[in-house]
Structure formats: C-alpha cells, structure tokens
C-alpha cells in the first residue's frame, strides 16, 4: 500500500528434511515481479511451485537467498501480502461476511470502514446476498470466491494464489478465472498464481514462469504480450500455450509417445510426491502440537 509492490526473489534455495535425507525443493531460484504484474507459475508436481509461493507470502521463511517485497525483507506473513489457498479454508462456524472480515481483524480501519470494505469486497466477488450464509451452504465456486474476498479485503500489495481453482469444475473454473482477471484489472494488485493448468497460466499471466522438478528450478519465463481481457480461443493465445506445453514436456524429460495401452501389470504406479510429503511432515523437533500458537 505504501511502497510499490515489487517482489524480488534472489538465489533462493529451500531444502526439506525428509526422514533424514535432505530434499531440495527449490534450487537457486531468482525471479523479479513488477508492481501490478500478473505472474503465473506452472510446472509438474514436485517442481516446488507451491513452496515458492509460500516463501513469497512469508508463510515459510527457512530458505537461503533473499526475498524482498517493496525493498523489505520478507520475514513472515504480512497484511500487505494476501494469500488464497486451494481449499478455501473458510471457518465453518462463521458466516461469509465474518469470514471475509477476518482479513481485516488486524487492519487499522474503523469499524464502519471495515464493514464498508467487507461488503464492497463481497460484491466484487459476486457474493452479494450470501453475506449471512455459512460455508457449508455454499458451492465450491462460491466458497472460493469468499476465500478470494478474504485475501483481497485488506487491499494487499500482492495476492498469492495457490492453485485456487484446482478443485473446481471446468465451467466454474473458467468463470472465476475471468472474474479474477477483472478484479486484477480493477484493483491493480500484483498477483502471483500457482497452477498446474497451462491454459489457466497463459490466459491469466503477463508472464508464465515454467518450473522443472527435482530439484525445483525455473526452466523458462514466457511473456504473454496480449492485452487483457483475453480471448480464450484466440490463435495467438493457443500458440503461446502450445509453446509452454512443449517446454513443460521437456521438463519431465519425456517426449510424448504414441499412446498405447500398457497392460495393467506394467502400468507404473503413481509415485508419491516427496515435496508434498515434506510439507506434511512435521518439523524435525516435534515438541509442539500443530495447533500450538
């Protein structure tokens, strides 16, 4: 809000300790994000894209290298950096209105201003009329709208979105992508969105950061020089998408082979993603409960 939102990520490395072995989730990642930019990060699972997002938001600070936001080191969460999770993480015991207003719990606004901001934000995400509804009464798309409203209500400099539409059906997803784009254009908030959906990445991003897994690195950054709002079906967008797909296929080291049906016995078993497992494992010193505050 005060300084121009400029996110600087320099030589960032993040290692996790999984059962005694060090696992490099991010290896020497550098990325600059301009104020007002919409950056999307795309990659196969295990490429560290969510790790990078958590580091940028300040939810995780155990890394090498430098992360700065507006010239100041990111050393924890801040109200200048909003976050939207894949699961909306609304509190089931609070109404939509109360859930959104939690984003302002520690903001320096008067009560009246807060009420104003909350209703404005709810209107912005198209949930007017559902202020008093409880989360279990909402559809998945509506719940995620409320999640976005909570992330935006404090007018952060940067909004981080961690696969926000990953759990939604295709139609709801497309609609919410369009709405997010409008919000971004209207509010001029820097947005960083992590996704595994290439269409989503090129449709929304000014730049698409393509990451490769094991260890997580930035493979390439593809600019999308098309004006917003974009036409989903435009040939330019399709061309960029195909380019991104090609690069992505390169990251996993597998050229697309002609599709044959492997016998059930030879079909490879889905392997667990060690980085996600690392997120789930508790710190090495489990002296605290997870709910310890």
């Amino acid at each position: 809000m005060t300084s121009p939102a400029h996110l600087k990520i320099r030589n960032v490395t993040r290692r996790f300790n999984v059962n005694g072995t060090a696992l490099t989730a991010l290896d020497d990642v550098s990325l600059d994000i301009k104020a007002g930019e919409f950056v999307t990060i795309v990659g196969a699972s295990g490429c560290g894209k969510s790790t990078l997002l958590r580091l940028g938001a300040g939810l995780d600070v155990e890394h090498d290298g430098v992360i700065e936001h507006g010239g100041r080191r990111v050393d924890g969460p801040s109200l200048d950096r909003g976050i939207v999770f894949q699961e909306p993480r609304l509190f089931p015991w609070l109404t939509v209105e109360r859930n959104v207003s939690l984003g302002l719990e520690n903001a320096a606004f008067s009560k009246a201003e807060k009420r104003e901001l909350v209703s404005e934000q709810i209107a912005l995400v198209g949930l007017s009329g559902f202020e008093k509804a409880y989360p279990h009464q909402l559809s998945g798309g509506m719940a995620q709208r409320a999640g976005i409203a909570r992330g935006l209500v404090n007018r952060p400099d940067v909004l981080f979105l961690d696969e926000p539409f990953g759990a939604l059906d295709a139609i709801t997803k497309a609609r919410l992508q369009g709405e997010l784009q409008q919000i971004w254009a209207a509010e001029k908030i820097t947005m960083v969105l992590v996704t595994h959906d290439v269409d989503e990445a090129v449709y929304l991003g000014d730049r698409v950061v393509i990451m490769s897994p094991r260890p997580g690195r930035i493979r390439q950054i593809v600019p999308v020089d098309l004006p917003h709002p974009r036409e989903r079906t435009s040939p330019e967008l399709a061309a960029i998408r195909n380019g991104v797909l090609d690069i992505l296929n390169g990251t996993t080291g597998e050229a697309p082979k002609p599709v044959t049906r492997p016998s059930a016995a030879r079909r490879p078993a889905a392997s667990a993603n060690p980085i996600h497992a690392a997120h789930r494992t508790k710190p090495a010193r489990p002296a605290f409960s997870t709910t310890e505050i």
């Binding site: 939810l59 089931p92 609070l94 984003g103 998945g140 409960s289 997870t290 709910t291």
Partner: protein
Amino acid sequence: MSSFTNMASSATGAVGSNKTVGWKGLANRRGARRAAIGLILPVMLVLYWWLASSRGWLPEQILPSPAYVYTTAVEMIVSGEIAYHAGMSLRRVVYGFLFGAMAGLSLGMAMGLSRTVDDYVRPLFLAFAQIPTLGWIPLLMLIFGIGEALKIIVIAKGALVPMTLNTAAGIRSVPANYVEVGRALRFSRLQTLRLIVLPGAAHSIFTGVRYGLTHSWTALVGVELLASSEGLGYLLVWGRQMFWLDVVIVAMIVIGIVGFVMDKGFDLAESYLQRWKRGEA
C-alpha cells in the same frame, strides 16, 4: 471432525430460506416419532413392575406397587420434601460442576495447546482418572471431613476428567490449515485462540461438558450416600434404613429425571450455539 474437512466438495448451494420451514416441520415430526419410540421401553418397564407387584413375585416390602410409589411421590412433592432434597443436591452439583469444569477447561486447554504440558501431565492425569470418583472418598473424608467441601470436591473431580480430556482432544483436532490462515492474517496468539482454536474445539468441549455433568451427578449421589443428612442420595440411604422402598424408588426416579433433563438441556444449548452446523451433511 469430518465437518471441518472437504468444505470445497460440499456443493449444496441451497440457501433458499423458503425451504427451511418445510424442513423444520419434517424435523419436528421426526423428533416426535423418535420421542415416542423412546417412551416404549419405560412404559413396558412400568407395566412389568405393576405385573410383578400385583402378582406378588416379590414381597411388597421389597417391591412396592407403582400405585403406592405414585401416592408417596405426590405426598413428597406436596410436602416440599422432594424440592428440598433435590434443591440441596442441585446446589452441590452446580458448585462442584462449575469448579471442576473450569479447572478441566483450563487444564485441557494447556494440554491441548502445549505438547510440553501434555507430556508432563498426561500420564499422571490418566492414572488419576482411572481411580473411580468414589474411590477418592475415604482419603478425602479424612482430609476434608464430611462437610460440604468434601462433596464439592468429589463432584468437581467427576467433571474434571471428561472436561480435561475432551478439551485437549478438541484443541488437538483443529486443523493446522486453519491455524495457518490465522498466521497469514497476522493473528496474535489470543486472536488465534479466540477466533480459530476455541470455536474449532467447541464441539468436543461441549461433549466434555455433557459427560462432566453426567459424572458430576453420579458422583453426587455417591457422596451423598456416604456422608450427608440431606439431598437425593441421603433420601436413598434413609429410605433403605427405614425400609421405605417407596421413598427409595421415588428418589431414584427423581435422580434419573433430573439427570436426563440436564443432559437434554445441554444438548439443546449446544445445538443452539453450533447452529451453523444445521443442515450440514
């Protein structure tokens, strides 16, 4: 705690308030049906009792007839005897329960929030909880005498154990994801506790309150049996000594009814406080 997860997938969408009336009507009908079913066994029990006493399966001195017990009950209600003894008992339970529940809530919160406290306290606490409430009475009697203090302490202990364990378990079960939201929003410890942890643990804490109340009530009757000159437990002992089994049965029925009403009352209070759950699958 399945209600806390999979929120994204609960795509019910129907917020229409016009539907609620119909649902409420249906719920009431269903509730009446269930209440009627719940009455079947008690009615059968009374019938059997009536049969047993009228056929003389047991001597009348041991099993008085329902009609006789009913007359005694009416007499005792009219004379105020029931109200007096039940009032004494209730007063003890209220004090003892509040005392025990407060202590249990504090201890359970400490154990739920801090792994260290839990590690220190839990083994001793579990061993302590294994000793039946009545097992404490001989020792406590020597320390506190047989006055009100003894009764309050025994009742408080009855509430303490379930309150502590359920509070601790409830706090543990609050998803780490929720706490992380609080971190992202820069909540202080107090805010996290007030806005996330306690509401998230509320259901479990309520279970603790209900069990605590039941245990308190049971402990009360126990302690009154041993050391008292008034209260429902005393009524039982006194009736037995005088061989007035009608008084004993009246006292038993009153104890059961009061306990049932208290439990139901908390049930209603909980569903009011947790009304956000209404209609949740």
